[in-house]
């Protein structure tokens, strides 16, 4: 019994090391149940309204919900604003599966984010993010933002809450964060971040545990009269490595299982262009569609290029790849423009401008989504197709 108590205490001690205690206990809660007030939250990239106690975002193009700033001093959370023990919880309902990015901003102008998918459907679901997984826990919070990638309408937030839960609540949030599947996005070709357990990566936790196993093994062998032998501790250490590796493996395989389910739901049965757009995410939803359309509008053997974008821009590189077999050239007959807010085209003079840049002698041969994107052709080439 005494041994059990000692072990429990040790466990609690370790937990305290993982989640440094904080003196704060007050909550910040936004429930959007007071008329049409968004309670200081700002919506970018979409139209917001308050309806039935929810903040709803319509016609959103990668909409972002930004908290009042500076969040902590104004909002009344007592004490300092460091991230230790601080959890952001939000109940959200999305008409479709969506990739969500939660960002924490600190007073010293740094930020950290996490991305995860939320399930679509008619139910509100709660998500909790332990903010010290995004930024070092000693940093002071300035604000938070929640962004939903892609085109979305009817995204509803029922409530948002910023609070410091007790040990059990914090452990729950950390546990949820540990198992939260990482979206498989294009950056992952270079790295896969270790899952985090509170402020620490799983790797760090593993070293602590393996170190403990090593020390306990040494103590055990000394107590048993075998003397201090590092080599004797090899088997317990190896076993600890194996157990932790299996836990890690289960966690990562769970990620793949979720990825499989999500990809099957989102992409199976769709054509390649649609799948490509989904995977590249915002703002590429229309880009691939646009490319596949303008390919058809170009004369055989003609060359194409961006009107104002640098040939080294990512969009221009994407265009070169996806417009094949149409020849992309530095000296093209066809010019494309994709969602340029400064674009002005004077049909009579055939001049196309964007800010200080001007190209003359063009005719528009294809428009996409209400003139936001278009294909132009040099007039000296004759009539368009």
């Amino acid at each position: 019994m005494a041994l059990l108590l000692k072990r429990t205490k040790l466990l609690l001690f370790l937990l305290l090391l993982l989640f440094p205690a904080s003196s704060l206990s007050a909550d910040l809660l936004w429930e959007f149940d007071k008329g049409d007030s968004a309670s200081g939250w700002l919506v970018r990239g979409g139209e917001s309204r308050v309806e039935n106690g929810s903040l709803v975002i319509d016609n959103g193009f990668s909409p972002e919900l930004r908290s009042p700033r500076p969040l902590m001093p104004n909002a009344g959370l007592d004490g300092d604003a460091n991230l230790s023990g601080l959890v952001l919880s939000f109940r959200v309902k999305s008409p479709r599966d969506a990739l969500v990015e939660v960002t924490a901003f600190s007073l010293d102008n740094t930020s950290g984010y996490t991305k995860f998918h939320i399930r679509g459907g008619g139910l509100f679901r709660e998500h909790r993010v332990y903010l010290a997984t995004l930024l070092p826990s000693h940093k002071e919070l300035y604000g938070v933002a929640i962004k939903a990638h892609g085109e979305i309408s009817g995204l509803a937030f029922d409530s948002l809450r910023l609070y410091r839960p007790g040990l059990a609540g914090l452990t729950g949030a950390v546990w949820e964060g540990f198992w939260r599947p990482d979206p498989v996005v294009f950056e992952i070709i270079n790295y896969v971040d270790s899952p985090r357990f509170g402020s620490f990566s799983f790797l760090t936790i593993s070293y602590i545990l393996i170190g403990v196993v090593f020390i306990l093994s040494l103590i055990y062998f000394i107590v048993r009269g075998r003397g201090l032998s590092f080599y004797s501790a090899r088997r317990p250490v190896i076993v600890a490595f194996i157990i932790l590796s299996v836990i890690f493996l289960i966690r990562m395989d769970y990620n793949w299982a979720v990825t499989y389910q999500r990809d099957r739901r989102a992409m199976q049965g769709k054509d390649v262009v649609a799948r490509q757009a989904l995977l590249f995410g915002s703002p590429h939803e229309y880009l691939f569609d646009f490319f596949s359309e303008i390919k058809l509008a170009v004369d055989d053997g003609a060359r194409i290029g961006p009107a104002f974008k640098s040939h080294q821009s990512r969009q221009a590189k994407l265009a070169r790849y996806f417009l094949l077999p149409v020849d992309s050239s530095a000296d093209p007959e066809y010019l494309w423009v994709f969602f340029d807010p400064d674009l002005v085209f004077d049909k009579s003079s055939g001049s196309l401008s964007s800010g200080q840049n001007l190209i003359k002698g063009l005719e528009k041969v294809y428009t996409y989504e209400g003139d936001h994107a278009a294909l132009y052709r040099r007039r000296d080439l004759g009539r368009s197709k």
Binding site: L203, L244, R275, R314
Partner: protein
């Protein structure tokens, strides 16, 4: 889909026959092992042949390449039959069938074995599903590799007219100096599918993934038993970054495959190669895989040279004939030679410095504008943090290997394992040198750092598995 399957089977059969010829007199060689090795050999031979066609200015027509593949298969078939090696002497799986290989017949062992095989099947199923569902989508995959493939496919050749705006893919390819193995495999798939299908063309990554696990399995099974080998293969196949790469179109997984296969045979040479004829054969197979690695990615040169240094050290230490080195050099000249001569002749370079791919020593232009030229020692701390605290792509294998090496240092020094360690230290040293002098951003921007490690993580896994058996069993 039929076209895609044929695009896989044709080079695979050719590679299988090639492997059968190489391993004709190997008593322990099994059908499955030859299939795993034949996969890489077949794809390597295929891309090499397409490259030669491109050099000769012959159009990449499906019929032409397929005929050459059939001719290659017939030649390897004749050689294999003459060597008496068409039917593997080791059976299908080894040890007289699958259940026999997990000897003992104990229910527990069988449950673990079939449990692992079930998990393997799930993982492989997942990889193939994702590979065929997801189009090429990571930025680096299409700019570095698929852009070349798509351009060559529509061009019908390598476009070697230096006066053309798109010489060798200029304007489409980020770096002209990147080797062509994966792009040419994508061209081949596209030819069989009938269009450049953004998902289907990258099926090779999933196949290399299976091959990688298979090569590790047979590399370990010969020494440590089937169940142990299966456990490690499953572990390797579960490493997250490897699984991810298996579903996309990057070249690092293929490089990892060739490196591991080369090192498995290199280690067999170290263990069994004192007999001149057997040694020469094993060394030749090792060099063949490592030469294919050079045609897969520029980093392949590091592995070939590092292994070459160790081979020389081994020959000197054992007092063997220096003529053995010929077996290591000739495959390299044949397979990698044309590509390297092409690189020099057309000045397409190696580095990441810009359109010309030239290298700028002590200056990484992507690091920061006006960044001081010099050695960037800050990379050491960043590498340490990345490998040991931040990156989860390799589970705990790196710290495990280090801890195990500390426990087993005496075993390593006294056994043939020391040659694997020399190889690994040379490779690690070479990469550190590159990060310090050329590719600082590979570390600071987390671009190449983990991918580079992934290319020799299978060798670290192989080494760890071999050492673990000894450390676990050895008394102080």
């Amino acid at each position: 889909m039929t076209g895609l399957i044929l695009s896989i089977l044709i080079p695979w059969v050719t590679g299988y026959l090639f492997a059968s010829w190489l391993l004709a007199r190997d008593e322990a060689s099994t059908l499955l092992e030859r299939l795993f090795l034949g996969l890489g050999l077949g794809f390597g031979i295929l891309s090499f042949e397409i490259f030669l066609l491109g050099l000769l200015g012959i159009s990449f027509a499906l019929v032409t390449i397929t005929v050459i593949q059939f001719l290659s298969a017939i030649i390897f078939l004749i050689l294999t039959v003459r060597a008496g090696g068409l039917l593997p002497k080791g059976g299908v799986f080894g040890c007289g069938g699958l259940s026999g290989s997990f000897a003992g017949g104990k229910a527990f062992i069988l449950i673990i074995t079939f449990g692992l095989l079930g998990l393997f099947a799930l993982k492989i199923g997942f990889v193939f599903y994702e590979s065929l569902l997801r189009p090429v989508y990571s930025f680096d995959s299409w700019t570095n590799w698929s852009a070349a493939a798509k351009f060559f496919y529509y061009e019908g050749g390598l476009m070697l007219d230096s006066s053309n705006e798109h010489f060798f893919g200029s304007g489409y390819r980020e770096f002209l100096g990147h080797p062509l193995q994966m792009p040419l495999l994508e061209v081949w798939s596209a030819l069989w599918v009938g269009s450049f299908h953004e998902a289907y063309v990258k099926i090779h990554s999933a196949l290399y993934y299976v091959g990688l696990a298979g090569v590790l399995f047979y590399g370990l099974k010969r020494r440590c038993g089937a169940l142990y080998a299966l456990l490690w293969s499953w572990f390797l196949a579960s490493l997250p970054l490897i699984v991810f790469h298996a579903t996309d179109a990057y070249s690092d997984l293929a490089l990892a495959y060739y490196t591991l296969a080369g090192i498995v045979f290199f280690y067999r040479f170290i263990e069994e190669g004192s007999g001149a004829k057997q040694g020469a054969k094993l060394l030749m197979i090792s060099a063949l895989f490592l030469a294919m690695a050079v045609f897969t990615k520029n980093e392949g040169l590091i592995f070939y040279i590092a292994a070459g240094i160790v081979v020389a050290l081994f020959i000197k230490a054992k007092g063997l004939s220096w003529r053995l080195l010929l077996s290591y050099v000739v495959p390299f000249i044949v397979i990698a030679g044309p590509w390297l001569i092409f690189k020099i002749a057309f000045d397409v370079g190696y580095g990441h410095s810009g359109a010309g791919s030239e290298m700028e020593w002590l200056s990484d232009p992507k690091y920061a504008e006006g960044a001081e030229r010099g050695l960037h020692f800050e990379v050491f701390w960043l590498i340490f943090k990345e490998y040991f605290f931040r990156h989860g792509g390799f589970n705990l294998i790196v710290p495990f290997w280090i801890v195990l090496s500390v426990f087993g240092i005496r075993t390593v020094v006294k056994s043939e394992l020391r040659y694997l360690y020399i190889f690994l230290l040379l490779v690690i040293g070479a990469f550190l040198f590159i990060y310090l002098t050329l590719e600082v951003t590979a570390v600071t921007q987390r671009t190449g750092l983990n991918r580079n490690l992934m290319t020799y993580i299978p060798v670290i896994t192989f080494t760890s598995a071999l050492l673990l058996v000894r450390v676990w069993a050895r008394k102080e």
